[in-house]
Amino acid sequence: MSINPVLLKELRQRFRNIKSPLLIALYLLVIGALVLGFIYLLWRHMPGYYRPDSSRGIFILLSMAQLGLIGFVTPGLTSGAISGERERQTLNVLLTTKLSTGGIVVSKMLSSISFIVLLVVATLPLYNIVFLYGGIAPSQVLGVFGFYMVTIYLFAALGVACSTYFKRTGVSTVTTYGLVFALGVGTVLLSGFIIEVTRGPFPTPPPLIALLLMDINPVMVMLQVLGESSVGMERDIWLPYWSIYLIFYLTVGTLLLFWSGRKLNPSRARGTKFRV
């Protein structure tokens, strides 16, 4: 079992590209500035104080900012995976080799994910600030990172699928951002809308679909992971709160990858309107 050549090539290109370290630096700068700015504000009000709940505030801020950045960076890094090759006119040659289209798609996905994971891991030292003050368990940080991985998986799969489907990277990128936005904001709006519409004269539990929409919303689930579960709605749960999120994100992500591999395969592309 050896590493897929596409993955090796992608990593080589990625880490040789001057943009990569710049992106890492920028990413750290944005998150770092946010956290340090927040700490500065706290200290200005109460210099020299030790307060566990303020470190909790930092933790929440840090994690939310990170989620926002992931939602911002992932589509950008994945939505050109296949369409980029198509635009550079390297795809058809790749497709005449003995590599499977599934392998190409998965390798593209892995190389993008590994870079995003690198970005996230690079922010780990910032979490030291949180530990410095205490009040946060390492297990909570682990939970947050696990949550990130699941989220990145679906976001990246969305980007790769869009770039397989759309001929142009521009269209693919816009669509991926749109889908990520729909997951991050649209689900909550829709859920709220459904609850409003179905509200009767007497208090009734919200319809299941509204709850499920909340359950696949990354911000809502993130708040629960952070222990701010008061935001979530009370209901009789027979599964842990994160299970629907986990199942939905992993299943849909995997289906998207399978679909992309099939779509890319010219031997199945009967009726394709464009030449690769």
Binding site: R12, Q89, N92, T97, P266, S267, K273
Partner: protein, 311 residues
């Protein structure tokens, strides 16, 4: 080696391939010639398993391109008409990537890459970034890439386009060398005279069909009843041009300082008739001869003929 039978491909309303039949014998260099939009690229894409046909069959080394695409991919090296290279990869990494993509074991890759770069004359660019190579170098690198898994068949779509005369000459040398390596080569080109020199066989395509094919000498010789005439007269060349244009069986009249060149379709008796008419018209004819044609003119003659047949 390549056997195409009744191949059909439609893009919406356009019929790119209209029951194409073509056979490329093993070990031959087969030139596919045709005007823009004839369907050359479409045919080559189907043979390279990048496009599914709407009908007909195409076999490469006995493997059906639709039913056994992976087997076909192992046998062919494909060079598209337009292609790009990757940024941030060095020449040997680029080739190494494709070697890996054909599952060539790592141990054998290093000597192989050296050999291939030697073959295409790029040994000194071993360590250069591929995106910084010149167009001609990229073209040669692509050829090396096609050869990496030692395929029996090479499908080269207009490999000479965009190359300067010297680079073209080099390319021809490489293709001739491929023949010695016992490869079957299918090559398309706009630069018709070029193909005459390298190819054993040519096929002339138009409107998705093969309208003529055979050994180069045969195609260039008689062109199926059409011949290229050179007529020189002492004066009134313009008038003569108008006169011959008004005759039947004459087409593609070209005029220069000393005379005319035209394509004539007809038997020797009809040709004699034309000469008599010209002489009777009072022109002092100093030359009236059939010139030996190169492939380009043969191509004009044959595709022109196809037009005549249609109307």
């Amino acid at each position: 080696m390549i056997q195409v039978t009744g191949l059909v491909k439609k893009f919406g309303k356009t019929t790119a391939l209209d029951a194409l039949n073509m056979a490329v014998p093993k070990g031959s260099i087969y030139g596919l010639i045709g005007p823009n939009g004839a369907g050359k690229t479409t045919a080559m894409s189907i043979l390279s398993t990048l496009l599914l046909p709407d009908g007909g069959t195409a076999l490469v080394d006995g493997h059906d391109v639709v039913a056994e695409p992976m087997a076909v991919r192992g046998v062919i090296g494909y060079m598209p008409d337009f292609f790009g290279v990757y940024d941030g990869l060095k020449t040997y990494e680029y080739l190494d990537f494709f070697a890996a993509a054909y599952y060539i074991p790592e141990k054998t890759r290093k000597p192989l890459l050296g050999e291939l770069l030697e073959l295409v004359n790029l040994s000194d660019k071993y360590d250069s970034y591929v995106d910084l190579l010149s167009r001609g170098m990229k073209q040669r690198l692509a050829l090396a890439r096609c050869l990496i898994h030692d395929p029996k068949v090479l499908i080269l779509d207009e490999p000479a386009s965009g190359l300067d005369p010297r680079a073209r000459a080099e390319l021809k040398e490489i293709i001739k060398h491929l023949k010695q390596l016992d490869k079957t080569v299918l090559i398309s080109s706009h630069i018709l005279p070029e193909l005459g020199e390298v190819c054993d066989q040519v096929g002339i395509m138009e409107n998705g069909r093969l309208i003529a094919s055979g050994p180069v000498e045969e195609i260039t010789a008689t062109g199926k009843g059409a011949s290229l005439l050179r007529i020189e007269v002492l004066e009134r060349i313009n008038e003569l041009a108008d006169f011959v244009k008004s005759r039947n069986r004459v087409s593609n009249v070209e005029q220069d300082e000393s005379g005319l060149r035209l394509i004539f379709r007809g038997d020797p008796r009809e040709r004699g008739e034309l000469l008599r008419e010209i002489v009777e018209g009072g022109w002092a004819v100093t030359e009236f001869s059939e010139t030996k044609r190169n492939l380009e003119e043969a191509f004009m003659a044959v595709t022109g003929e196809a037009d005549v047949n249609e109307h």
